[in-house]
Symmetry: C2
Subunit: 182 residues, 2 copies
Amino acid sequence: MDSLEEKTLKSEMIFDGKIIKVVVDDVILPNGATSKREIVKHPGAVAVVAITPANKMVMVEQYRKPLEKAIVEIPAGKIELGEAPEWTAGRELEEETGYKTNGLKHLVSFYTSPGFADELLHIYLAGDLEKQVNPLQADEDEFVNIIEVSLEEALQLIEEQVICDAKTVYAVQYWQLLEAMK
Amino acid sequence: MDSLEEKTLKSEMIFDGKIIKVVVDDVILPNGATSKREIVKHPGAVAVVAITPANKMVMVEQYRKPLEKAIVEIPAGKIELGEAPEWTAGRELEEETGYKTNGLKHLVSFYTSPGFADELLHIYLAGDLEKQVNPLQADEDEFVNIIEVSLEEALQLIEEQVICDAKTVYAVQYWQLLEAMK
């Protein structure tokens, strides 16, 4: 295999925001030429596949400013400084949906968009769900509607592009695979 | 359902790059409070699930500067100005792998990271693959190694986190589902 490495000549911080940072790197390509890489740095996130005893998946409807619309997603959130991903997963599930889980299983971790961002998303399956009477409160700038959908409804929502993000499309396909292997 | 809309008070362009733009919006939340949203704008991309007559999936090993490592992915590329996504898909497949397809089927489109980016990725299934003797040439700053993997090898590469991005994890799970439903 050819070496594909791109060595950094210079790295310039363009934006140091609350959630993301943006840097532009000057790199040397494998053929010796130089190029620029625009890179978004993100602290990473978790998402939770939560299927209730009634065989419904717990989802949240949430406004996504980059898309200028509300979409339906599995519960998710970014990892706070120093938090273990599994702990974030339990916290976000309870804050966003009121469900507490007594068993998290790691399913997969993936980079959402490795061409320009380093965001790594960890997806967990939440077992043994319990609806809490006094759940953890959500962040104060977070507004969501909770819905519970059957597999058929989830597939219909993908068709209608109401479910339209990577982690939730993955989660519904995971559910299809679970059902197909039963 | 409660209205979740976030109205824009002000939008400031922070970075206008070759591939991404970054803006920071001041917004009014549903409860009347104000907040900021950091948003990455991206032209969108396509990816191609290509399974050969020998039942191998065509993948490319590519250095991803944001991750500072080479990973294995399905062929993909960003949409050039004015290009129809399906056309981009055929072009990227041929440029990156030397395979021409005589039939593209749209599988799904998803936002890779709707919390901070508007990148929409369109995934196609490529049928009727033909290896070209003189394929289209890749972009001059693009270096890839082509590999063809069985489903078992692909699952092993996920286990080893060599396959570790959203679109490729989705593609391998799609393949698992295809096989499970046979």
